[in-house]
Symmetry: C2
Subunit: 435 residues, 2 copies
């Protein structure tokens, strides 16, 4: 029988899982700091909800994992969280605006698995729903900046643009077949320069305009704005205001790159958009991306509600930061009863320590003290408490510091005081120890 | 278009989600304290893995949500975590024993939704794999006890039994069709007494033995052990040792009820088993249950490996404890720029506060200060920082304590010091404030 996980999925064993939880926790802290609240939706939706026109786009709809319920209705696993959230908003029209929600969830797409892109993958994201303002777009960017920094990603850049700007430019340059044109723009770094240019020409009625467009796209931002200011004033000013607020929010200038070739794949974006790349590892794809989608919620709710959001690809982030996260053991203290008859004492001691807030564990599988200590070492345990003949008789506890290879005899009270003095346990979701 | 979640599933909006996270976090703290480490497996498995004979049992296999992948292979959503974990162990034969793993995960069963039982439901559970010892069974019980207590469940009882004991008793009483007999035992509290007794008779060749069995099952534990000691000495002693260790682990005596009519539904249990009921709300079903399953891992790995575990039903727990958990807002501080031109100052202030570890948010959707303050009140915000004409001119910040309805003018440094002195922010996964 096949014992593997299905193609494109994987198990997260504790060492890896703990690192993931540390990174997810840091993301959450940032989201919370900006006032975003957590939401969770079911793993599957009615298929018609997921397939709603204008959302993911036709190409991606075919990547939905779908199945029928017992009543014959079609269900599908969620492929992102923006769509279920749009459905939730439609279901709850009386929610106070702005709605500031975050999620850290798994989702599923039937794509061909590749590096950093699994069929079951995880995203940490936020949505800000109800207000259209440059400040909100900048907040999303600043929050992403903080999250990536806190998550341990050092060198990255935001490539930012605006769908409205692309619209305006395309109209000016008399582009035909606009959706296909956008798809090609998106492939600028994936195709060779010659190939890309060749394909680009097809969209221009006037070859001279194509030359002008090529010159434009290869220009610096200042030159671009100068040459399109006459017909795209509003759009340029919006984008520059987003950049301005982002700096006020604390995003360093060098992280911000305006780039009119950035389009984002998803059809539902309407305004400000961005993608994030690790410097020198652009081939890994976008680490985090998002933008404004002022029409999507309306598709579900019937009322137009502006919205903006972003999602961080956790699997890709883990590829970058995993090595730099130390994965300490979950417990620092292992109690070693040297005889079966001492197990009762070990249990009682464990109960007292845990009651005091001290995590610990009991070793009972190995016979000799040598094997017990070597087991403790392979777990990376810091302290062993040895319960032998003498210790039981004298009611003492031998605390062995495995790092220093030193052993101290303690009374119960002294033992607890010593541990509390030397180790401070503050519980977090990942059982991590602070200071 | 249908905007509902699929039958038997639901959305968790922030207020509810936060409470769930608090409870889950408390469970995790307890699991970590006992040395259990987190594991995560994919949402779906190859169907043959889930359907493996001897696992969930035939009746439940039909409740799997299943679908085909593009290559035509059948996949199924996980219905519990014990089965995927057994598969992981088979995949990783060199893991150090004992393996102590926990999970807090969603799973899916195609059952008819009922109170406290959804089609997408959540469990928090642990598995201890590699050692057969009464101490381990007791540890599982003690950990469940601690988790329920910390999770806020006040009055509950463990009904404990042993599959080996039921085996022995059934043999002694010459039971025919043992699996069906177990199923009927399980229904003791679901059928009327008359109905149950009537059905019970069918399993006895000798009617006198049925009378004896009925007398036995209605006896106190002391009488039971006395009458079956001659043929079930080993099994009684094992169970009593589990009880003994449990008390050493700190489980109060009154929570422990031996009950030979407890069988647990799942086929894979082989030894110690338990179910947990809230006192006076037994009709809600079991809050947490588990037991020893020494043969399941072997089905997957080919090598017999003893194991024991338990799972807590999070949805049922939430029904009980939800009301008693206070759901504070995610941020305490709302910055109110009174004019659009003050938004830049608001952004800069928010950036400084967040840099100092202080969560805050900016209100920009409402025009009048009255509306802004009333919005803050409906969110339950503790402090508002007002940025008006005077404040901008004099570089002061008016901190309004919404609870006391008092307003203080501060310099930036004084503002930060005041907040830090009065509110201490320590970040946890749920953005909760300690102390």
């Amino acid at each position: 029988m096949e014992m593997k996980t299905p193609k494109g999925t994987k198990d997260y064993l504790p060492e890896e899982m703990k690192k993931r939880k540390i990174v997810m926790k840091r993301f959450e802290e940032v989201f919370n700091k900006y006032g975003y609240k957590e939401i969770w939706t079911p793993a599957f939706e009615y298929l018609e909800v997921l397939e709603k026109k204008g959302g993911l786009g036709e190409e991606s709809v075919k990547d939905i994992y779908k199945f029928q319920d017992k009543g014959g209705r079609w269900l599908g696993l969620r492929f992102d969280m923006t769509t279920p959230i749009a459905r939730v908003i439609a279901n709850n029209p009386n929610l106070l605006k702005p709605i500031k929600w975050y999620y850290i969830s798994n989702m599923w797409r039937y794509e061909n698995p590749q590096r950093g892109r699994l069929r079951e993958f995880w995203q940490a994201g936020v949505e800000n729903i109800g207000i259209k303002d440059e400040l909100i777009d900048a907040e999303i960017l600043a929050l992403t900046y903080d999250a990536l920094k806190k998550g341990g990603v050092k060198e990255f850049i935001f490539k930012i643009n605006s769908r409205e700007l692309i619209d305006k430019i395309s109209k000016y340059y008399k582009i035909k077949n606009y959706p296909e044109f956008c798809k090609l723009l998106d492939k600028k770094d994936k195709l060779t320069k010659i190939e890309w240019k060749k394909n680009l020409k097809k969209f221009f009625i006037d070859k001279n305009l194509c030359v002008g467009f090529l010159r434009l796209i290869e220009s610096q931002w200042d030159e671009i704005t100068e040459s399109i200011y006459s017909f795209a004033k509003k759009e340029i000013e919006y984008l520059e205001k987003v950049v301005d607020y982002s700096k006020d929010f604390g995003v360093k200038k060098k992280y911000l790159v305006e780039d009119i070739s950035i389009v984002r794949g998803l059809e539902y974006y309407t305004g400000f958009i961005f993608e994030t790349f690790k410097k020198g590892e652009e081939h890994l794809g976008s680490l985090a991306s998002g933008g404004r989608y002022d029409n999507l919620i309306g598709l579900y709710s019937g009322t137009k509600i502006p919205a903006t959001g972003m999602a961080i690809g956790i699997d890709r982030i883990m590829e970058i930061v995993s090595k730099s996260i130390s994965s300490k053991p979950y417990v620092d203290i292992l109690i070693l009863p040297l005889k079966d008859s001492f197990k009762k004492s070990a249990v009682r001691l464990s109960s007292i320590l845990r009651e005091e807030g001290i995590p610990c564990d009991i070793e009972i599988g190995r016979k000799s003290i040598k094997k017990k200590l070597s087991y403790a070492n392979s777990l990376g345990i810091k302290y062993c408490i040895i319960l032998g003949e003498d210790e039981i008789k004298n009611k003492t506890y031998s605390l062995k510091n495995m790092e220093e290879n030193k052993q101290y005899p303690f009374s119960l009270d002294d033992l607890i005081n010593y541990i509390k003095k030397n180790e401070r346990y503050v519980w977090s979701r990942i059982g991590q120890k602070f200071i």
